[in-house]
Each structure stands twice: as structure tokens, then as C-alpha cells.
């Protein structure tokens, strides 16, 4: 049963990605400008040379066919802007950077968030609860383009503890500020989701049963309550993790990280079609796969769900 479900979902993924790519391709075509345009007008003959070299002078359906053939063979071709780099090379190089920062940020958020949320739920309406929820409210309301510069001001420009930007590899001190900046909002969300989930579960019958059986409070919380209380966090994790791994444009820009997000924004500004399509295809596959994983995980965590 479960196998057929997974297979069906995987089969749906392929056409969905193709639709996303087609739409993206059409949008790039509709957007004004092109990859070779600059402020100054190029002599028409030079423009003609460029268009011939990249096949832009052929009819649109030929170009579209070319794009689709490339994508189905999982080879996105060379970037237009960075001529001697293939899109696949760029993905291979940038993904680890974004994934390292994103995963660390998510793990940190998960750790701090669940602890804060659980504590807040257990001590509902106490100072601890208000404190934790106040902090998480702040995390949600302060956008990362505000938080990032503040952290830089304090830790880099005043205390000179941490580098204000740039990537020195994994692991390195240069990761600290981006990870903190990125995790804040997820930390806050997770704390609030955990608290709400836990509050609901703690009032349910099976917890009362567990307590009645004479289990210690620790066993009740860790073994029984958390499993149910974390369900909202799990469904949040799928898309969140996919987005974190594929890079976040703002944080990567503030800290000048050579990640997928940086490339994505620049590829758009440069109208670098193969690169845009490659990143979009990759990101959409990742989002779909992570959602699938979440659904599967549900089956394991929540005994009420059957496929």
C-alpha cells in the first residue's frame, strides 16, 4: 500500500516539474531585457553575432524543444553569463554551502524551538511561558534583513569577534552569524507550533491514561506527549527544510555567501536562462520530495494515519 502511494506521488512529480519549468521559461521570455544587454546600446551587428552564437535567432519552439531535451537528460547546459561553467557544476558547488548553512540553522531552530515550546506548554501562563513566547514573537516579527545587520554591528564591527561576511568553508566561524540570522524565524515558529501542539496533546485522554498508569512526568512528556505534539512541526519541516537547503536569498546576500540563493537572484538579474531553469527545476524537485517525505514520516509518527 505504502509503496504504491510513494510511486504514485513520484510519478506526479515529473509532470509537475515540467509544468513549473515551462512556466518559468515563458516568464523569462516575457521579461524585458536579455543576458547580454548592458547600459550602453550594442551595435546591431555585434548583437547579431551573440544571438547566432546562442541560438537565440531560431524560432521559439525550437529553443523550447532544446530546453526540454536538456532537462529530460538532466543536463542543463552552460550558463550564459559564466560561459565556461555548466549549470550542473554550479549546482554541485553551491548546494553544499546553502545546505550546510540551512541544515545547521534548521537543527539549531529545531533544538531551541522544541525546548522553548515544550517548556512553555508545560508551564503554561507562567513567566517562563510569556518569556519564551515573547522571544519567539520577536523572532517572527524581526525580519532577517534587520536581524543580520544588527548581529554584524554587534559581533563584527563593535566586538570584532566574528567576520562580518564571506564564506570560509564548513565548519568555520564565518557560519555563525548566517546560521543565527537564518534560524531565528524558524526557531520562533517551531517554538510556537510545539507549544500549541503540546497544549492540545497534554489535555488528551491518552496522556491522562499514561499518567494514570503511574508513569513519571518525564516519561509522559518525552515518550507520549512529544510524539503527538511535534506533528505540526513535522509538517512544517518539509517545505521549510527544502527552502533552507536551496538557499535564502537575503541571508546569502547580507553575508555574501556563494550559495544557491546568491546564484538564483543573480541568474534572474542576468536573465541567465539555463541557470534559472536549472535552479528552479532543482528547487521544485526538492520541495516535492520533502513534502513526500513528510507524508511518509506522518505514517510512522501518527498511528491514526493509514495510506
Amino acid at each position: 500500500m505504502k509503496f504504491r502511494f510513494i510511486l504514485r506521488r513520484l510519478l506526479v512529480t515529473v509532470p509537475m516539474v515540467l509544468v513549473v519549468i515551462t512556466l518559468t521559461w515563458a516568464l523569462i521570455r516575457l521579461a524585458p531585457g536579455n543576458f547580454y544587454a548592458s547600459e550602453r546600446k550594442l551595435p546591431p551587428a555585434i548583437e547579431k553575432n551573440i544571438r547566432a552564437k546562442y541560438g537565440l535567432d531560431r524560432p521559439w519552439y525550437v529553443q523550447y524543444g532544446h530546453v526540454m531535451r536538456n532537462i529530460l537528460s538532466l543536463d542543463f547546459g552552460n550558463s550564459l553569463k559564466y560561459e565556461n561553467e555548466t549549470v550542473n557544476d554550479i549546482l554541485r558547488r553551491t548546494l553544499p554551502v546553502s545546505a550546510a548553512v540551512g541544515t545547521c540553522a534548521y537543527l539549531l531552530a529545531l533544538l531551541v524551538g522544541t525546548v522553548l515550546g515544550t517548556v512553555a506548554a508545560l508551564k503554561q501562563n507562567s513567566k517562563l511561558d510569556y518569556g519564551a513566547m515573547g522571544v519567539s514573537m520577536l523572532g517572527i516579527s524581526v525580519p532577517n534583513f534587520v536581524l543580520g545587520p544588527i548581529l554584524v554591528l554587534v559581533f563584527s564591527l563593535s566586538l570584532y569577534w566574528l567576520p562580518p561576511a564571506r564564506w570560509d568553508g564548513f565548519p568555520s566561524w564565518s557560519m555563525v552569524l548566517p546560521v543565527l540570522t537564518l534560524s531565528a524565524i524558524y526557531m520562533a515558529y517551531i517554538a510556537r507550533l510545539t507549544r500549541a501542539g503540546m497544549l492540545e496533546v497534554l489535555r488528551s485522554d491518552y496522556i491522562r491514561t499514561a499518567r494514570a498508569k503511574g508513569l513519571t512526568e518525564r516519561q509522559v512528556v518525552l515518550r507520549h506527549a512529544l510524539r503527538g505534539g511535534l506533528l505540526p512541526v513535522v509538517s512544517f519541516t518539509g517545505p521549510a527544510l527544502a527552502l533552507l537547503i536551496t538557499g535564502t536569498v537575503v541571508v546569502e546576500r547580507i553575508y555574501a555567501l556563494p550559495g544557491l540563493g546568491t546564484y538564483f537572484i543573480n541568474a534572474n538579474l542576468n536573465r541567465d536562462e539555463p541557470l534559472i531553469l536549472g535552479i528552479v527545476a532543482f528547487t521544485s524537485v526538492l520541495v516535492l520530495v520533502f513534502n513526500l517525505l513528510v507524508d511518509i514520516a506522518y505514517g510512522f509518527i501518527d498511528p491514526r494515519i493509514r495510506y
Partner: protein
């Protein structure tokens, strides 16, 4: 404590932290900005702008690439670090013929590529031809179009030959009809600096006519020009090839360039990366991947050691460089970054030693950074001006145009903008050594009013009367951008205060703006235009008005002005030529098709221990002169003196 109280407290703490950070001690005139601690040894950490699109010198067009290319490749000549004038590179000397249509370069015999191979004149022939190859599709190939037959080859053109007589149709024959591509003026042979050859004689034949090789395009061109069609009728087409381009290796160490017409400014172009020499075997072996680390063989002061895109690019000293003893920097680390705040943070934290131009945000400058001793605030090779549609009333009267030009306080604009400097003439002042700028538009409200009164906008007493002027029939259009808006509003306010005229403003999206301007569909003024010089010569600006189309955009075109420019360009003596160009500029200013406003400031930062690096007009640095000074006593106390040609030198 209630939840709201906690939140209020937190908000308070946060705003306090922000305030504290924002209002740190202001930068004083005596201060440097941020940490001043030189890195160990001779390593420079430099921010050069966005990730380079290519390390192939013939392919890249931007400034970020140009700065990298200067480290990696050397051309016939190099830029002087202060004046940008050509100084010897691979060529140890050169000769220009009397009408500046032929350039002979004498190459040094000890110049080598980074793998030890000697650099000869043949390498330059290869490099020039490669850049012009239509299949390479270089965006900047037009820089070389002044070279004989280069345009025909680069644009995929064919010469037209009579099959019976074997004679080529000349460009002059088509030019008489006023249409067709090609230039009429053939080079005049001057005294020969290098031996005459058959190729050389061929280069001195009159320019041939060329038409598109591509059939569809040719048909289009012929249809549009019946005279041209008649010339081509019954003739055979001979495609232009690389061998037709006017570059020649006379011998291993003599390289000759023949132009299609005199162009004294061509020397100023030769240091451009497009003309920097590349290693033929490497390019041919690796194709598009030849610039990757491990593959690349280069010719400059430094060679590529590491390239992590969007992260860092490291070059190290090239031991084979002919002047390696003089090269001080063992290593340059380039950071590809273009976010202003991020790079200023890195600079302040002492993680980088210098940045590229226009990197300091205006708000930081106003907050005091412009007084920092390490702020590089020099004029740039650019001009910001408004174009005037001279074809429609009331601005078809040059007195009216001049009145508007006189009624702007450019000093106040400089003070307001911070990132640009006042400029009251068309060619930016103070950057072209030896060019005598004509008298510009001083701020003269009375003079402006008098001109307007003379033009008929006066009351009974003969005084200027703003009510008589049809201010609403004209407007200022500018392409949408924050800085353009600021300038437009400033000038609008000036005209209102000084002349009592309110000219409406209208922002237009860039691509539409360009069209509206080119087709003269605007009434009044087109703002937001600027021109950054392609080379260090007044002609890069004045030449804009040598054609009716192109980037002219004013409808003002006079053969008298074009004749003045051509006469100047035929003048072999540079000082006299500059004088003549200055007279042409004076004429242009008197006709007033443009209202000059300002010139950009370089606006970048450099730690005081970085020496031999100057705020030159294009922010291109010959890295061989740059070094790290570890003795604080010799550090720069302020922006280096730019009034002389002296280059700082480290004493051992």
C-alpha cells in the same frame, strides 16, 4: 511581568541597541574608517565588484573583469596608475605616423607567458583576430572596428568584386550616395616606422565596400538602398577573413596596426583588456574552458592560483613576467562582491584593504565617511548631462537653452549629491592632462534672465517675465532611478527659484526612455543621461555629436562641428589637437544641445598602508605598482596627490 510588558522591554532594548550602533562616534576628519592593520607580507585583499562573467580578456566587457584582467594579462601598453595614459607594456616603445592612422609597436624581447613561452608579435596578431572573430561573439569587439577591415570581418561582411576586372568596389563609391556601410576616408601613408610589406601596401589601398554575407540581411540592405544594389549587381562576393584585418607581425618583435582612418585617440584604447595578449595553444586546446585554474596560461604580472566563484579569486606573482623584480604584491585576493553595505562592513572590520569605485553608500558619506582620510574622492572619466530636444520650440532657440543651463547652481548640486562633482562643461574637467577646457556655464541668474528676455519672454519694461514663457509645453523626462529623481527634483527647484519656471518631471522606464530620446519624441529635456568615457580623450565625449543618430538624442547636428572635430583629429601635434577640440567644445557649449551638470566622483576606500594605488579616472589599477607599506610613518595621510605623475615607490 505581563506579556506586553516583556515585549515592550525587549523592543526597548532592541531599539537602544540599534540606536547605539547607528550613532557610534562620527567619523572625524583626522580618522581612518575602521580598523587599520596591514595584512602580513605583500598580500592585497581587494573587492572588485560582481563575479567576473569571464576571465577571457576578449570576452569580458565590465570594470570588475578589467581589474582582474590587468593582473592576469598584459597588453602592448599598460595604464599609467594616475593619469591612465599608455605606458610601455609588452611594447617597450611605439611610433605613430603623422596622421595617427598607423601604429608600430616594438616589443621587448624578454616578455613571456606564465608558462615561459616568449610573447611575440604573432601572439598579438592572433589575439586581435580572435577578438574580432564573429563566432567568438565578443560584446566589445566594436572597440577594434577602427582597424582596417575589422568591422567587415567582425560583422560577417563580404567585399564586392567585379568578376571581370578583379577590382573591388570601394566604400567611397557607395558613400557618395550617402548610404551604405564603410568609411570613405582611406588612411594616408605616412613615414614608415617599419619595413614596407605586401600586406602593408594592401592595407593602404582605399577602403573596400562590404555588404552582409548573410543572404537575407544582404537583400534587406540592398532593398533599402537602390544605389548600393546597383553597385553590387552582377558582382561576386568575397567574405572578409581574419587575414584581411589590419594587424601585422612585421617580424617577431614588431607589430603594426593600420586603421581605416586617422584616429589619434586609438592609442588610449590599446590598454583595454580586449587588446591584452592571450596564449594561442592554450585557447585552442581547452576552448571555452581555457581560463579555468589548471588550464590557463596568462601574460600579466600575476597568474591565477584559485577561483571559487562568488567567493574569491586568488592570483599570485608570475615569475616569468618581464618586470617581475618590480612587482611587489606576492598575492592579490579578489572578493567578488557588489552589495555596498556588506563590502563596507568588510572594509571597516579590516578584512579587505581596498574597494572599487562607487562603493560607499551616499548615506554613509553624509554620516561623515566622506571626511575619512582613506576616502578616495576624485573626479571620474564621465559626464552627467541633460539632453535638450533642439527641434521643437521654445527650446529650438539657443538663447533659451543657454538660459536654462546658466540658471543651475552646480556647486549646490555637488553638495547635495555627495557622490558627484560639479561640472559646467561637457568634457569632464581635471582628468585629461593638457586638455584646456573652454569656459563653461557659470551660475548666472541675471544672465539667464537677460537671455530669456532677449528671446522675447519679457514684460513691457523689457524685463524677463516668467508668465510669458510656456513652461507647461515642455517637460523633463528621466529614466526611473532614485538618483535621477533626486537630480531632476533638484534642477526643477533651481529653475523654479531662479527663473520662476516650473518644468514638469516625468519618470520613464529605461527601455522606453532610450527609444523616446532616440526618436526625439520628448519635448524639453531628457535627464538621467550620462556618458562614461571609453578612453582618455575628449573625443570620447565630443564624438557623440559627430553623428545624427546613435547616442546623440538632441536633434542637434551640424557639419560645421563635425568638420571642426575632423580637422582636430588630423592634427598630429597633441597640444594643438587638444586646443582645436577645446574650440569645438566651446562651439558645442554655445549651441547648447546639452546641459552639463556634474561628473561622477570615484568614491571608494583604501587603507593608508596600500601604496601605489590611486583614485584615477577609471579606477583601473596597474597592479605592478601597488604594494603594502608596513611602516606606519610612510602611510598615506589623505587621498594621494593626483596633480603630478609621480608613482609611490617602496624603498628597500
Amino acid at each position: 511581568m505581563t506579556e506586553s510588558k516583556t515585549a515592550r522591554l525587549l523592543t526597548l532594548a532592541l531599539s537602544a541597541a540599534l540606536l547605539l550602533a547607528a550613532c557610534g562616534p562620527p567619523v572625524q576628519k583626522s580618522d581612518y574608517f575602521g580598523k587599520v592593520e596591514p595584512p602580513p607580507g605583500q598580500t592585497l585583499r581587494y573587492i572588485t565588484g560582481s563575479e567576473p562573467e569571464s576571465l577571457d580578456p576578449q570576452m569580458s566587457s565590465g570594470q570588475p573583469e578589467a581589474r582582474l584582467d590587468i593582473a592576469l594579462y598584459e597588453g602592448l601598453v599598460e595604464y599609467h596608475p594616475k593619469t591612465m595614459e599608455p605606458i610601455p607594456g609588452v611594447a617597450e616603445s611605439w611610433k605613430v605616423n603623422s596622421n595617427a592612422s598607423e601604429f608600430v609597436f616594438f616589443l621587448r624581447k624578454n616578455a613571456r607567458f606564465s608558462n615561459g613561452d616568449p610573447i611575440t608579435a604573432r601572439d598579438f596578431v592572433y589575439t586581435f583576430r580572435r577578438g574580432l572573430d564573429p563566432a567568438l561573439a565578443s560584446r566589445v569587439a566594436f572597440l577594434a572596428w577602427e582597424i582596417k577591415n575589422a568591422e567587415a570581418y567582425n560583422t560577417g561582411g563580404s567585399f564586392v568584386r567585379d568578376p571581370k576586372t578583379g577590382r573591388f568596389v570601394l566604400a567611397s563609391e557607395a558613400a557618395e550616395s550617402g548610404g551604405a556601410a564603410g568609411q570613405a576616408a582611406g588612411p594616408v601613408s605616412g613615414e614608415d616606422a617599419a619595413p614596407d610589406t605586401e600586406f602593408h601596401r594592401r592595407m593602404h589601398e582605399p577602403d573596400r565596400l562590404f555588404v552582409p554575407t548573410d543572404e537575407k540581411e544582404r537583400e534587406k540592405a540592398l532593398k533599402a538602398d537602390p544605389k548600393l544594389a546597383a553597385l553590387v549587381e552582377g558582382k561576386e562576393l568575397v567574405p572578409a577573413t581574419a587575414e584581411d584585418v589590419g594587424v601585422e607581425a612585421v617580424d617577431d618583435y614588431t607589430f603594426r596596426i593600420t586603421l581605416r582612418q586617422p584616429a589619434p585617440y586609438f592609442m588610449g584604447l590599446v590598454a583595454h583588456q580586449f587588446f591584452r595578449v592571450v596564449h594561442q595553444p592554450t585557447v585552442e586546446k581547452y576552448g571555452v574552458n581555457w581560463t579555468k585554474p589548471g588550464n590557463i596560461v596568462s601574460s600579466g604580472t600575476h597568474m591565477l592560483a584559485e577561483h571559487k566563484p562568488y567567493n574569491q579569486l586568488v592570483v599570485v606573482k608570475n615569475p616569468y613576467y618581464w618586470d617581475a623584480d618590480k612587482v611587489r604584491l606576492d598575492k592579490i585576493v579578489f572578493y567578488p562582491l557588489d552589495d555596498q553595505t556588506t563590502m563596507m562592513n568588510l572594509y571597516k572590520a579590516g578584512e579587505v584593504d581596498a574597494t572599487y569605485n562607487h562603493t560607499v553608500p551616499a548615506s554613509w558619506l553624509r554620516a561623515g565617511v566622506r571626511y575619512a582620510r582613506d576616502y578616495m574622492d576624485a573626479p571620474e572619466n564621465g559626464s552627467v548631462y541633460w539632453q535638450v530636444n533642439t527641434t521643437a520650440p521654445p527650446l529650438d532657440d539657443k538663447r533659451v537653452r543657454k538660459a536654462f543651463a546658466l540658471a543651475i547652481d552646480r556647486q549646490a548640486l555637488e553638495e547635495f549629491r555627495v557622490v558627484s562633482k560639479a561640472n559646467n562643461v561637457f568634457v569632464p574637467t581635471g582628468i585629461l592632462h593638457g586638455y584646456p577646457s573652454p569656459k563653461g556655464y557659470d551660475f548666472d541668474v541675471e544672465g539667464a534672465k537677460k537671455l530669456l528676455a532677449d528671446a522675447g519672454y519679457k514684460d513691457g519694461a523689457g524685463k524677463f517675465d516668467p508668465k510669458k514663457f510656456p513652461a507647461n509645453s515642455i517637460e523633463v523626462i528621466y529614466n526611473t532611478s532614485e538618483s535621477n529623481r533626486q537630480v531632476a527634483e533638484f534642477v526643477q527647484a533651481q529653475w523654479k527659484q531662479n527663473l520662476g519656471l516650473t518644468i514638469p518631471l516625468r519618470a520613464i522606464e529605461w527601455k522606453t526612455f532610450v527609444q523616446t530620446r532616440a526618436k526625439l519624441e520628448y519635448k524639453g529635456f531628457a535627464g538621467g543621461a550620462g556618458w562614461s568615457g571609453d578612453y582618455m580623450d575628449p573625443y570620447t565625449y565630443l564624438g557623440l555629436f559627430a553623428t545624427e543618430g546613435g547616442d546623440n538624442g538632441t536633434g542637434w547636428f551640424q557639419t560645421k562641428f563635425v568638420d571642426m572635430l575632423n580637422a582636430a583629429n588630423r592634427e598630429p601635434d597633441q597640444a594643438k589637437r587638444y586646443e582645436q577640440l577645446s574650440k569645438a567644445e566651446a562651439y558645442l557649449l554655445d549651441e547648447c544641445p546639452v546641459i552639463p551638470l556634474s561628473k561622477p566622483a570615484t568614491s571608494w576606500m583604501k587603507k593608508p598602508y596600500v601604496k601605489g594605488m590611486y583614485p584615477n579616472p577609471a579606477t583601473l589599477h596597474a597592479w605592478k605598482f601597488v604594494y603594502i607599506e608596513h611602516d606606519p610613518a610612510k602611510w598615506d595621510q589623505s587621498m594621494p596627490d593626483m596633480t603630478n605623475d609621480q608613482i609611490a615607490e617602496a624603498k628597500e
